[in-house]
């Protein structure tokens, strides 16, 4: 790509990074408070899903209200050392900020293996923050979603993730105008999956080949791909 295009891509990525920083900010603010609450609470042993829900509700709502980012949902998903009965996922979402149905009655026998879920699995193994997606979030939003998650540590042990998610649909208004002058550009994740695209041949969910020219974000696993006109 030309130097000019490169500079434009850098600018778009910088905007995107700043946007994502804003998703993580309320989670970062919540993290030390939740750590404190949970370490006090867990002195008497693990709690139930219902107790967790009561414990985190106000703060999860605060996350949803505290930012101008178009968050769709937020909550906390606990590891086994925190919740040993009921649903470990306390999650509020949608325009009504409603408690996720399965948070109400628990998963029962249908308990999901959390390690299957990228937004849980990656922070659990790297102990670093992560932003997963885009993916079809059939457990929560039932939309194409990006989920930001921060690991919560208790006594040096991974104990769950604080999360917030945004629907890809709500990112379009922000990102598509920025891509306006970069015809054929697409924001992709680290496996080349398109988040949003102005390229005629690629829509959200499609994947670019890995050798496409791109400018990477330094903070998050995304890059701005700009296929050469020949490749397009």
């Amino acid at each position: 790509m030309s130097a000019e295009q490169n500079a434009q891509c850098e600018q778009v990525i910088a905007h995107f990074d700043e946007f994502v920083d804003g998703i993580f900010a309320p989670l970062e603010a919540w993290l030390p408070r939740l750590q404190q609450q949970l370490s006090e609470r867990l002195v008497q042993g693990p709690i139930t899903g219902a107790q967790l829900t009561a414990l985190v509700e106000a703060e999860a709502h605060a996350v949803l209200e505290s930012t101008d980012r178009p968050l769709y949902g937020a909550g906390f998903c606990a590891a086994e050392n925190v919740v040993d009965e009921g649903n470990p996922l306390s999650w509020w979402q949608g325009p009504e900020r409603a408690l996720l149905a399965s948070s109400t009655f628990g998963p029962g026998q249908a308990a999901i293996d959390l390690h299957r879920l990228e937004w849980y699995r990656v922070p659990a193994s790297t102990l670093e923050r992560h932003i997963a997606g885009p993916f079809v979030d059939y457990l929560c939003s039932n939309e194409i979603t990006l989920t930001a998650s921060i690991p919560l540590m208790l006594d040096g042990k991974f104990s769950g993730v604080l999360c917030a998610d945004v629907l890809v649909a709500s990112l379009e208004d922000l990102l598509l105008p920025m891509l306006h002058n970069l015809d054929g550009a697409a924001l992709v994740n680290s496996s080349g999956r398109v988040v949003v695209s102005t390229h005629h041949g690629y829509e959200t969910g499609d994947r670019f080949a890995s050798d496409v020219e791109s400018v990477r974000s330094e903070r998050y696993p995304f890059s701005l791909a700009l296929p050469s006109p020949v490749a397009a």
Binding site: T104, I112, F135, Y138, I144, T204, G205, D206, R207
Partner: protein, 278 residues
Amino acid sequence: MDPRQASPASSRLRSAAFAPIGDEGRAELVETRLLQAISSGAFIEGERLPSENELSQLFGVALVTVREALGTLRHRGLIDTKRGRGGGSFVRSSPGVVEEVNTRALTAMPRVALADLGVIYEVIVSACAEYACLRATEDELEVVQRVLVDARDLPPGPWRRRITDVQLELAALSQSVRLTSEHVRVQTEFTPLLALQDAQVEQRHLTHDSLLAQIEATREGDVMKVREVVRASVRSSVRWLGGLRTELQGDSASEQLRATLERYRGQSGTASFTGEAA
């Protein structure tokens, strides 16, 4: 052609637009949903359903509507209600209750409807798989494959739930919300019937092997192969169910249904060794 003359297509669209909305009562709708949840294994035998209050909130219907639906399910012998502390509505834990409901559903279903359910199921699963061929990553397929492999030797109930998970996860790898939702819809309808095969380990292994082959073909991005694998597996299940349905004709008492089901499973257990590799 006279443009004012309605074409057959627009006439069909018109009648679709004005198809009766129906007035199936809310209690019946709640009952159908709960029945689906139980018969598809989302709630298992002996498990407590959400409380009446929770159900009323979740469904957005009045408490009295929930009670009416629960009453019908209780009358049909599908749930028990216990009063007092630790009480609530529980899926009947006597073995085979859910299976009997599913067997009766199969018997009541015209053969043509069963075949057509197979068609829509095959097409939705194939369409999801085709998009997954284009869009799924190696890591995602690895995660699903591990879930599947770990499930191989589970007993029928837990095995079926894990398989349903795997099927849903594979559908979601299409990265299409609408395809995934359609998948959930047909899976909810078809799973109670598919589960009738599960007492036979050979049938479970056929399904299992076919899912492994589907994952492998998806990994290779081989759309033709993935369609072929899905089609063979669904058709083999529909054939098995069609055969069972024929055998069940005329049975009405619970013991008759049970006996026929067991006899059929015994016979087709040996048959599936000899052919129909899905």
